[in-house]
Subunit: 432 residues, 2 copies
């Protein structure tokens, strides 16, 4: 048997402790699967004394994670500190500079620096693994990079943030509004004290940028991702969605077009029979559509110590088994420049909810604006009647250009009879 | 750039032609992804003249596939002939003996000879790939062998036969009985003229045996798989399932127990909110449950030229990229002997449908038998009343031992008041 693979772990939060637990509890199994032992040699974290439920006494302790990355007795450095810059980036750079492979669960870091880190790793002859950065335990990076490598990917999309999916699921089940559910989720630990990374779509956008790069073989372009969160989704929208046969999901969508790739994160209405309409609660799911394979769906837990440690372990095992595949599916030199298409060029169908005063001629005014912007209506619902207070009007459109839709929404919002800013949710057509 | 990888293809049916089409159409993409070109050099099939919609003029033709496997100018031999023995086996053995890697879509061959072929390939220093043998385009072998390799798998199960799933789905949607739907499916090409491999569960059993070996790191034991097909499922059972909140699916299930692994293929009642209850028509889905990752679900098309070619290509790409992982996740010498638990030792819940004469005391007789065999009833439905002809009685049980259930069914079937053999479908509890 070959020598043990030596592992240094930077960051000992839930995922770091979970990774140590996995590597310890499964040691025999992993030795059989890798043909060699996996051995944690060194660890680094902010506090040495905190009880993490795992025994650290057998590992060399480093106060400075970057020093550990550079000097530890290790073949692989696992970065679990988090954050798009700072110590996390230093750890990865130091490890690669010292000729060690890097495994990370850090989506922000990879979304911002993945292209450069992959090039540096390649040059140094080491691996860069980030399976754990996208969709937790679901082996979706491997599926795209290897399992579907015979396909030209047409579209990849998914429910990439468990917090948002939990909130939207609970809103639908209870009929309650966003703020109350968020507060509950925070109390139960399903949402952070500062929830903006999750509920404003940034976390999903990090993951989408990574999926885009792996699926389409292009450089990362996080800045190009169009991002909207779920704060403006109301119980009323969810009820109307139900009535129209839709579910509302926060999706990250990367789609090939003739002139580039769309990258967008926003709430979507998807038909109730779409492949991911029934993915509920904290689960994540990714759908990859290839030209030969058709539609494939991958579902599992998108966060948590166990699933994330499972993905970290998969990358470690690949390295131990001697697997060497470029991080983003093609060699860095062969990555194409990112060609992200601006959102204004998107075409799609739309759901719009207006609050209007209930008097004759209101609808005529709204439809005149839509006509002027060349937006074709598919359906209109005005169920409530109340001469004394605003009533909702819901409109769905046929496929139309985003830019025209935005102008129409601005013009509709400026009408005297429309008493709140119009609410828009895109309708996404997802085939089986 | 390294030399091209040279490929010989034995068998030019739908999948063979699809594989040639994929390798031709995606040539540039594949070269980028592999860092080298993939080049078909040789082909072999029964008839040279048949029009397959692909141009064979650039390839060397062999009448004898085994001769091609031994003598062609090729690094990889792709076996797409089919059949558990005969030419398919000869091709694989000849290729390995000649030091060439083997890629196959042949589940019958792998289910019967996979352990021996993997050992031979390992000894010869070549690869054996069979991603296409299980669940078509879904990269489930790779997910189990690599993506989830940090986990002890607790259970893996799935909808592994698209023909059966199509028939069961259509029975449910139309309320029609098995025979009529099968005839229609045959006419539409969704079922073979001789459908027994599919509808009797043998095809699913082949795939399950392979999944078991990869998931649990044990030798193949196809003979140990308990197999039942879907011929005895009636429209009445599907209607009762609906009423009870279940769907009927043909599942292949491999489950770790203290004393070994259960391997079984049979119709199951699964709760309508189970992860795979909504997988309909010709789609396949596999659920893998790991101790760290939890439940993960993989869904896609389980058959057809495109999806199968996608999986064949994934294996070819792995080989071209220099990936060398043991075919069944651990080295052949480390595979444990198969310890398949006999079905009589299974414990589970059961659905039983009886046709009884409608007179007082009938239910008392049935329940007395269940009591004597220690089977605990969960529910009983006798809705129809008709003194002149038999009426259905449906019973569901709490978890009980298969052996006791079988004795109870035999005793119930022997009652004077029970006019048809009892129909039994196992109820499977599937967590999220």
């Amino acid at each position: 048997m070959t020598d043990a693979v030596k592992i240094a772990i930077a960051g000992l939060g839930t995922v770091g402790a979970g990774t140590i637990r996995l590597l310890t509890e499964q040691a025999d199994l992993l030795t059989r699967r890798c043909g060699r032992a996996l051995s944690v040699t060194s660890v680094s974290a902010r506090s040495r004394d905190r009880d993490r439920g795992v025994d650290l006494s057998g590992f060399q302790w480093f106060d400075d994670p970057a020093e550990m990355a550079a000097r530890a007795d290790a073949d692989i450095v696992v970065e679990l500190i988090g954050g798009e810059d700072g110590p996390a980036l230093e750890v990865c750079q130091a490890a690669i500079a010292a000729g060690r492979s890097v495994v990370t669960a850090n989506k922000a870091l990879i979304a911002h620096h993945g292209t450069a880190l992959a090039a540096a790793a390649e040059k140094a002859g080491v691996s860069l693994g980030f399976e754990a950065a996208v969709a937790g335990g679901i082996p979706i990076i491997k599926a795209l990079r290897e399992g579907l490598a015979g396909n030209r990917v047409e579209r990849v999309y998914g429910i990439l943030n468990g917090t948002c999916n939990y909130i939207l699921t609970t809103m639908r089940e209870t009929g309650r509004d966003f703020d109350g559910i968020l507060a509950d989720a925070q109390e139960m630990g399903y949402a952070e004290a500062d929830p903006s990374f999750d509920v404003d779509g940034i976390d999903a956008a990090h993951k989408l940028a990574i999926l885009t790069s792996v699926a389409f073989g292009c450089e990362l372009d996080f800045a190009g991702v169009h991002v909207e969160g779920i704060r403006h989704v109301t119980a009323a929208d969810i009820a109307f969605a139900d009535e129209l046969g839709y579910r509302i999901k926060l999706l990250g969508i990367a789609q090939r077009r003739d002139n580039g790739v769309e990258q967008r994160v926003h709430p979507c209405m998807v038909r109730a029979d779409a492949p991911i309409a029934h993915v509920e609660g904290v689960f994540n799911a990714v759908v990859a559509e290839g030209d030969f394979v058709g539609t494939t769906v991958y579902e599992g837990r998108g966060a948590g110590a166990g699933p994330t440690a499972s993905a970290v372990a998969a990358d470690i095992i690949d390295i131990a088994r001697g697997v060497r595949i470029p991080a983003f599916a093609v060699a860095s030199a062969d990555l194409s420049p990112a060609r992200t298409i601006p959102m204004s060029q998107h075409s799609g169908a739309y759901y719009v909810r207006l609050m209007v005063v209930d008097k004759p001629g209101v609808i005529a005014g709204v439809t005149a604006v839509l006509r002027d912007e060349n937006v074709s209506m598919e359906s209109m619902i005005q169920r409530a009647r109340d001469p004394n207070s605003p009533v909702p009007v819901v409109i769905t459109t046929h496929e139309t250009r985003e830019s025209g839709m935005m102008q129409a929404l601005a013009a509709i919002g400026a009408l005297d009879t429309v008493v709140e800013p119009p609410r828009m949710i895109r309708i996404e057509s997802l085939k089986k």
